[in-house]
Amino acid sequence: MNNIKDIRDKQNENLRNKPNKEKALAAARRAAEEMRATKHIIVKEPNQLASGKSDENGNMIWEEIEHDEK
């Protein structure tokens, strides 16, 4: 895991001054590779995959973002 972080940090450093398109493509490729790497341990995504907050009536609600949130 540490190796993955080191590689990621190194890649991010190398991309720091690159154009946005290169940054986005590198990040997307890495994300695809990371997801592909987990396919062998996960058989299937849950059928009811969902995330988010609702009120008591089922309406979608969201918090205002706090100033100190990182």
Partner: protein, 166 residues
């Protein structure tokens, strides 16, 4: 100010989805991503009242509200074979160092891996706006939460979100 931000971040949204679609097309799984538009709202009606949904969320109204309020939002509609298979919506954290995925929902009885697909676009968008982590907010149940954790996210009980560095 809001209009200027909307234009600026629309370029990022388009670029993030274009990049994700480039990766997805190379995977040859027939999945693609677009922004949430009238076509997505219309397609959503086909599964809006499906009893197998985890939540009965009203996506079109929420999208329209977010489009007016949050110019820096992330939004994506996932498609396979002309069918809408997932929707997602998020925005950067206050300091802009992270990207929150506030809502995501896979279409009922859909056989895709929505997280994998969405994560590619989220990562591209995070890179474009300078965010270094992604938070998926409020997984709807323990199965979904554990799935994110097995996919490499860390669960934070205090804020009820799953986080991953990008």
């Amino acid at each position: 100010m809001k209009e200027k931000l909307e234009k600026q971040y629309d370029i990022y949204r388009i670029e993030a989805l274009r990049t994700a679609n480039e990766i997805l097309s190379s995977q040859r799984n027939g999945v693609s991503l677009t922004q949430a538009d009238n076509r997505a709202y219309s397609a959503f009606q086909k599964w809006e009242n499906n009893p197998h949904r985890a939540k009965t969320w009203d996506w079109p109204n929420t999208y329209m509200s977010w489009k007016l309020q949050y110019p820096k939002r992330f939004e994506a509609a996932a498609w396979k074979g002309g069918k809408l298979v997932g929707l997602s919506l998020g925005r950067p954290t206050y300091a802009g160092t992270g990207l929150r995925l506030n809502f995501i929902e896979k279409a009922p009885q859909s056989e895709i891996s929505l997280l994998d697909i969405t994560y590619i676009a989220l990562s591209a968008y995070a890179a474009l706006i300078g965010a270094d982590h992604i938070n998926i907010m409020h997984p709807v149940n323990a199965f979904v939460r554990d799935y994110y954790v097995r996919k490499g996210f860390s669960y934070n009980a205090k804020s009820d979100c799953c986080t991953r560095r990008v």
